[in-house]
């Protein structure tokens, strides 16, 4: 389709044709007071000027940092075949034509995406596809309410805070209720979903529970007792939603295996580059019994009149263009390009490759744990994790910022996203994947060790100035031996002591 802007002549001809004097006359029905008074925009720039300005802005992004940040979006190696195939023009749209069967290739890629995700999650049905993990999780919660005709969903505080916020937004303006299941505060299960609290929450006869939403691994990186939570949920007649990180499914039990009814998650780790604001990929899968309630589109495989294999758009009759206000969701499109990237990534790696990615990430994370503990930042929790965990760092905010100055992104400052949880006040959420190198881990460990000793020194000096030298001295007495990290012997902080 040719695209060209209308010339003054074009506009004049159109106005003549419909018998209107000017473009402004078209808006005569709208009172002047309601019309826009002009947009306060800067003067136009040439393409070259604009490119330069945007480039300067982009350069302010720190892409040089050694990163240990995960928290829902993960760095992975993407085989070049993924991006190369995505460049094909046929794929470069999220849209299927209004007669979708004419695009057999597009439908086949969606079908393959569904098949791969079904295998990965161990569930029967996968819809293609959703915006991101947060919206897929919210859709999963809504599914449980529709399927059970109940109005209350229990969401673990271990689910990503952004996902919980999105879920609350989806529930806003409806009669649906989302209650939060707290986390265990101490002991060996600290940081995981509080099962005793969960059982208590089921007890309210006035508000029967539609669904229980729990993430595995949790936002804090911990593995949750999924099978047990599933049994509790089912015992109360509720459905069980598992929020998953797809790479982890290569080595952890799948939602299908531990009895989840629905799985939701973000497909970004599967060959989709990190980008602030996306586009990412929402994965949504369920058991066959729920197939009529899953939002989004499903592509099926069948045979045409001549018995040849054919792909068809099936089971999208519940969506907005047909069901209007009764639609099961507002999703009318899908993240086709990102879903395709995930499919190519999975096909390129194969099941063994994906297992290697997950296992290597877990191994690197174990090395990271050792290095950080040696530097004086032990784990905050003691339960098992896969490749992400929280560490306790005194004065975490200042240390995090100083490490950025040293070229290290020391994960996520947990207090920034979970300010209401005092147990997370001085802690960082760090992660490792297969692209995290032992050298990077060494650099991080050494720098953190130095910073912690430096911080202790500075704090000590401050206290001496404040006339509390004895207290500070005692603190020092126990300090240095705890923080004997690499390179901790000769650095400025030490000298300050």
């Amino acid at each position: 389709m040719a695209y060209g802007s209308h010339t003054t002549e074009d506009r004049a001809r159109m106005l003549r044709t419909i018998g209107v004097g000017s473009v402004d006359d078209l808006f005569a029905d709208i009172p002047a007071s309601l019309r826009s008074s002009g947009l306060d925009l800067p003067a136009p720039e040439s393409e070259a000027e604009l490119s330069t300005r945007l480039l300067r802005l982009a350069e302010r992004n720190r892409v040089d940092l050694i990163s240990f940040l995960g928290a829902g979006a993960y760095r992975h190696f993407t085989p070049p075949v993924v991006d190369q195939l995505l460049l094909r023009g046929e794929f470069y749209t999220a849209y299927t034509p209004y007669q979708p069967e004419i695009s057999q290739g597009t439908l086949q890629t969606i079908y393959e995406y569904q098949s791969l995700m079904a295998e990965l999650t161990g569930l029967d049905v996968v819809s293609a596809s959703h915006y991101d993990g947060a919206t897929a999780t919210a859709e999963a919660a809504l599914m449980t309410c529709r399927a059970t005709r109940r109005e209350r969903v229990l969401v673990s505080a271990g689910v990503h805070p952004h996902y919980r916020e999105t879920l609350r937004t989806y529930f806003g303006g409806t009669s649906l209720v989302a209650d939060e299941i707290p986390l265990v505060t101490d002991g060996p299960a600290a940081g995981t979903t509080d099962m005793i609290a969960l059982e208590r929450m089921f007890a309210d006869p006035e508000l029967p529970v539609a669904g229980v939403v729990v993430a595995n691994p949790s936002f804090l990186g911990l593995l949750e007792p999924m099978a047990e939570i599933g049994r509790l949920a089912h015992g109360a007649g509720a459905l069980f939603v598992s929020v998953v990180e797809p790479v982890s499914l290569a080595v952890l039990a799948t939602p299908g295996e531990y009895g989840a009814d629905i799985a939701a998650g973000d497909g970004q780790p599967l060959g989709i580059p990190l980008a602030y604001g996306g586009p990412y990929l929402g994965i949504l899968a369920c058991r066959e019994a729920l197939v009529r309630g899953i939002p989004g589109r499903l592509v099926g495989m069948t045979a045409d009149v001549d018995g040849r294999r054919a792909f068809v758009m099936t089971l999208r009759a519940r969506e907005q263009d047909i069901r209007r206000e009764k639609a099961s969701s507002n999703i009318c499109t899908n993240q086709a390009l990102c879903a395709l990237a995930a499919s190519i990534y999975l096909a390129a790696l194969g099941p063994h490759g994906l297992r290697d990615v997950a296992a290597l990430g877990a191994a690197r994370a174990a090395e990271l744990e050792t290095a950080l503990a040696a530097a004086g930042a032990p784990r905050l929790h003691s339960g098992p994790y896969l490749n992400e965990f929280a560490v306790r760092v005194p004065n975490a905010k200042a240390i995090h910022s100083r490490l950025i100055g040293r070229g290290i992104l020391a994960g996520l400052l947990l207090a920034r996203v979970l300010p209401d949880d005092p147990s997370l006040a001085d802690s960082l959420l760090v992660c490792a994947t297969e692209v995290t190198t032992p050298e990077d881990i060494g650099v991080f460990g050494a720098a953190l060790g130095e910073e912690l000793i430096g911080a202790a020194g500075r704090a000590g000096a401050g206290r001496v100035r404040a006339g509390r030298g004895r207290a500070a001295g005692r603190q020092h007495g126990s300090g240095p031996s705890d923080v004997a990290g690499p390179g901790s012997t000769a650095q400025p902080g030490g000298a300050a002591r």
Binding site: R149, R292, R318, I322, K326
Partner: protein
């Protein structure tokens, strides 16, 4: 010609009245308009439904439509066979394709339903 012993609605449901029990289905005309019916969602037993409320869903290869309750009351039975054989709605809409039975709370609601002649006139209008 539609069965003469039934009552009908503008939404193309039929109702068989036996005492205070109303058996409900969709008419042959409705089934034909919908095309091949592939899925039926019915209300659970014991649910109280208001007259004209959407109580179920009928999905055909062409469209998804609501099933409305022609009368208000408690759902006392639904046709379990339809979950595995929704095509009964096409093959035998007035018989094996029945959908649910409602114990009616207000028998006066029967009076508002269409008689066979009125329903035929409605479908004749197209």
């Amino acid at each position: 010609m539609v069965p003469q012993d039934l009552r009908y609605t503008k939404e193309h449901e039929w109702v068989r009245i036996e005492g205070d029990i109303a058996t409900v289905g969709i008419t042959a005309y409705a089934a034909e308009q919908l095309g091949d019916i592939v899925f039926v969602e019915l209300p659970e037993i014991g649910r109280t439904v208001a007259q004209f409320a959407a109580v179920g869903v009928i999905e055909s290869v062409k469209a998804v439509s609501d099933l409305f309750a022609p009368v208000g009351g408690d759902v006392v039975e639904s046709n379990a066979e339809l979950s595995s054989a929704p095509e009964l709605l096409n093959s035998d809409p007035f018989g094996k394709g029945w959908m649910l039975r409602i114990k009616v709370t207000d028998a006066a609601q029967f009076g508002g339903l269409l008689d066979p002649a009125a329903y035929e006139a409605l479908t004749a209008e197209g």
